[in-house]
Subunit: 344 residues, 2 copies
């Protein structure tokens, strides 16, 4: 991404020089921020609100591949992924801390690019970056993000409060991030076999963006307020629809019926999955990284959400904890299976 | 540390199995904890207090060497190091989140040992472990800890509020953690050369414990209350006395005079440094990892602290920003030099 003339090694700057250089870009806008970067701890204060906190660890080679991930997008995504957890509580995200492990050969300009992507996400969502840690790494890039938010006690949506009869809903569409990743992996393989061949990513913008530059669904939190709805339970989709729905069922001690034909899949996701010889429904169920919100609402809220283009009703919660099933398009009944990462 | 019969690979358990297994040990005791592990975000609520947050990233090969670090101690230290930052704000630590990157070959029993060390530290200091992230790692062990605490607004001690004339003080003694590390590194080298030779660590308990199992100085925060003192500035010593004092001077836009003969060094630290042919004062100034508190107090508080065995007065703050000096035992004046990590 960088020419050699633009290359300043971090070793030249040292830790404090790097922190000074990077933190100059930070602007604080949250009224609750009392002290940001530059002390042992950041200080913030909310009145009459519950504080929310969530944390994610992203490792090179596990969560991202720098051979096809622009650093700015990676920084943007690292923040979005973490904010998504706060929105999944029906909360307002307000602050993040960022810890980075950088190899000594990482250029200042590269670290800056990563940081700028993070700040872009923060600025877009009105988030203050208030602290972190920076260290050298012998093992590739390490990114740890912790986000803080708030919500009034009565508005918080947990995972363990779904009730039998509740409608299972999802925002946006699913599977795109996974199919986008398959395209990037395919082009990487082709490039490694023959570096003369340029990557063929044309017309795949939407699914590539789903993978490389996802957006946390803050707009849904605003929509719930507008529609005067409080979901009875909520979770964000990072591991895949099946896995997340199983979390809600397990924690709520309930069952579920999910209808394959109701699962929202974008046309480009569908066509590209077919082109790659993979089942679009499996991409949506187990692909993950869509960062859409999966939530349940009371049946009486049906009218409020039925006409919203951004919400799909995909099933309902049942009383029987043993009945966690997917009804296929043909009407066949399959047990739902949760999958976390398989990389352990 | 483990026999083969006690070996359960994490790959067998999977992510959710591992989380279920590990989180059973967590007990929540903080009244402010509304929701701990098990949702997208943890929820807590403080009334009329400012919230503090701090985060640290610890990487294998940079911050710790598993060849001589027992995992339980490592877990304990990872928490202490982070709590230390909250105490350095004159705050009360209350919650932590823990993210782990674990290689797939890491045994369940090993991960559990690490976790038990963390929970030991949490229990000892009355901290709730309320969330985190667990992922596989291709690059050795990664530990990211974020701690949350609180303080009344008027009690918080920042780094940028030292005044000319203030006394520079430090808790406990310095250099021990660094000298302890040199002993561990020496024994590792000897072992690698000849695995028949058993490590000679006898009589070095204190400095080894300083390195492997440090204690954050929560007791100092209690002592300040008891003595009715509020430090005018404070920072914890992670990088070394010189570096931390420079942070206070830089952020307060002040100078300092530090007296070498006043720097508290334990006898075992002193003797072992001499034995290893290194200058004990340099260990105290630049060694780091002591996790003692460096703070400044008003001159009129002199009588309150003068007789406390746990506090050493080691210099004073001056008006001249260019005068940041160390007065050696011989009376020679040296400019202070800050060093962060040198590993970049």
């Amino acid at each position: 991404m960088f020419t050699n003339s633009d290359h300043t090694e971090l070793a030249e700057l040292g830790e404090f020089g790097f922190i000074d250089h990077i933190t100059q870009h930070i602007k604080l806008t949250q009224p609750s921020t009392i002290k940001g970067v530059g002390d042992d701890a950041a200080v913030f204060q909310f009145n009459n609100y519950s504080t929310l906190i969530s944390t994610d660890l992203l490792l090179e080679g596990i969560h991202f591949d720098l051979s096809y991930t622009p650093l700015k997008h990676l920084g943007y995504k690292a923040i979005q992924v973490n904010l998504s957890d706060i929105y999944a509580m029906n909360g307002t995200a307000s602050h993040v801390t960022v810890s980075l492990g950088l190899s000594s050969k990482f250029a200042l300009e590269a670290a800056e690019e990563l940081y700028l992507g993070m700040l872009l996400a923060c600025n877009k969502y009105g988030i203050d970056l208030i602290g972190g840690d920076t260290t050298s790494s012998k093992q590739g890039l390490v990114i740890s993000v912790t986000s803080v938010g708030y919500a009034s006690k009565e508005n918080i949506c947990y995972r363990n409060t779904a009730q039998a009869g509740d409608l299972i809903c999802v925002s946006g569409d699913l599977g795109g991030a996974f199919v986008g990743l398959q395209i990037l992996e395919r082009e990487k393989r082709i490039f490694l076999e023959n570096s003369q061949i340029q990557p063929d990513l044309e017309g795949k913008d939407y699914i590539l963006e789903r993978q490389l530059k996802p957006e946390a669904r803050r707009d849904m939190i605003d929509l719930f307020k507008q529609l005067n709805i409080k979901p009875t339970s909520m979770i964000d989709i990072s591991d895949g629809l099946a896995s997340e729905l199983m979390h809600i069922c397990k924690q709520s001690e309930k069952g579920c019926k999910l209808y394959e034909e109701k699962i929202p899949i974008d046309t480009m996701t569908y066509d590209t999955a077919r082109e790659l010889g993979i089942d679009p429904s499996v991409c949506a169920l187990n692909g993950g990284e869509d960062y859409e919100l999966l939530f349940t609402v009371k049946q009486e809220d049906y009218e409020k959400i039925n006409n919203d283009v951004d919400i799909s009703i995909i099933g309902h919660i049942t009383e029987d904890v043993k009945e966690r099933v997917l009804i296929s398009k043909s009407g066949a009944i399959h047990p739902l299976k949760a999958q976390g990462w398989k990389a352990f």
